[in-house]
């Protein structure tokens, strides 16, 4: 019973969704983030340089490495993006590291899905497809929170969770 409860709690901690991983949520204020990560966060750029409003930090969340983007809003600093590559993180339907493009598409029926190759730009500025790399972006609506799955050789290797608005894509 204890083992099952612990397993369920762990799974909930790593549950990947459009608004975060477990209790790590987009839009979460810095103070709340520190409570969840159980650590004090020292900012090196925001509030140090008055012009810069964004900063990325590396942290540990429940034993996994995460990269968190912070954004200074009008009167508080909040989480604006979460990136990770831990195989522990999975969506409710089991999508995570190692999943394929078709599995993602099947799991997110009715969502906005954007599956595209990754391009590199050569000397003449002409885009060239990188054959092995692609991304699959999943959103509930045209704009809003999204999960971007990064794939290499058609398998998810990492993911980013962030808000996407029309002029940002």
């Amino acid at each position: 019973m204890l083992v099952t409860t612990t397993t369920i709690a762990q799974n909930k901690d790593y549950l990947l969704s459009l608004d975060g991983i477990g209790s790590l949520k987009l839009g979460m204020p810095l103070l709340e983030l520190e409570k969840v990560l159980k650590t004090r966060i020292t900012l090196k750029v925001i509030d140090v340089d008055s012009v810069v409003l964004v900063e990325t930090i590396n942290a540990k969340y429940k034993g996994i490495d995460v990269e968190i983007s912070l954004w200074k809003r009008q009167d508080y600093i909040a989480v604006d993006g979460i990136s990770a590559s831990s195989p522990l993180c999975k969506t409710k339907s089991g999508i995570g590291i190692g999943s394929t493009k078709l599995q993602i598409i099947a799991a997110y029926d009715g969502y906005h899905i954007d599956a595209k190759p990754v391009f590199e730009y050569e000397g003449d500025n002409k885009p060239k497809r990188i054959k092995t790399k692609s991304t699959v972006t999943v959103k509930e609506a045209e704009e809003g929170y999204a999960i971007i799955f990064n794939l290499v050789n058609n398998k998810v290797v990492s993911f980013d969770i962030l808000p996407i608005y029309d002029d940002e894509e």
């Binding site: 493009k101 906005h112 899905i113 190759p117």
Partner: protein, 191 residues
């Protein structure tokens, strides 16, 4: 007798192949109907004059126009855009083809009735967008069972303004294609 039958067989096979070629869907057109063609070229191909009232409208500045026509016995809706190739000199060019005939198929057999996953598998290396509802230029028509699958070529995917960019759009009902649209964003001929 055998030779006559063989001859007719060869003629019939050639006609069928020619018909199929007429209805082949590709990123840049439908058979001989190619995106980027001028109004005059399309008129020559369809053997009829096309009336585009918006193109003459200099008050409302409407740059686009549509015409419903017949191409090789199938109904098509063609969209034209005003394209300047010199200061104050323009021609209407074909930038959109819409149809729903089951005769039209891509080289790999994608067409009306095809399942969504087959489309995605056929265009695995290209940019694929899946959206609920029927996504048009300025609006999305929502509804139960409706979805849109768009295939973008590299220029469309990267919004490369220095190349012609093509998008193939499939409109689906309950995951099966019911119609398609071929779209082009043509580079400015003045560049």
């Amino acid at each position: 007798m055998k030779k006559i039958c063989l001859f007719f067989l060869i003629v019939a096979a050639s006609c069928t192949a020619a018909q199929k070629k007429d209805h082949i869907i590709s990123m840049n057109g439908l058979g001989a109907l190619k995106l980027g063609m001028s109004q005059e070229e399309v008129e020559k191909l369809l053997n009829e004059k096309i009336l585009l009232p918006n193109s003459l409208d200099t008050i409302n500045d409407n740059y686009q126009d549509t015409a419903k026509l017949k191409y090789k016995n199938i109904d098509v809706q063609l969209e034209f855009n005003r394209n300047y190739y010199a200061p104050n000199v323009f021609r209407m060019r074909l930038i959109g083809i819409k149809a729903n005939s089951p005769l039209c198929k891509t080289a790999s057999g994608i067409g009306v009735g095809t399942d969504m996953l087959k489309i995605i598998a056929a265009y695995d290396s290209l940019h694929v967008k899946i959206q609920p509802g029927y996504a048009y230029y300025y609006e999305t028509e929502e509804g139960e069972g409706k979805s849109t699958v768009s295939i973008l070529d590299d220029a469309a995917s990267t919004m490369d303004y220095f190349s012609d960019a093509y998008t193939m759009v499939f409109f689906l009902m309950n995951k099966k294609v019911i119609s398609f649209e071929l779209k082009a964003k043509l580079k400015d001929e003045r560049d």
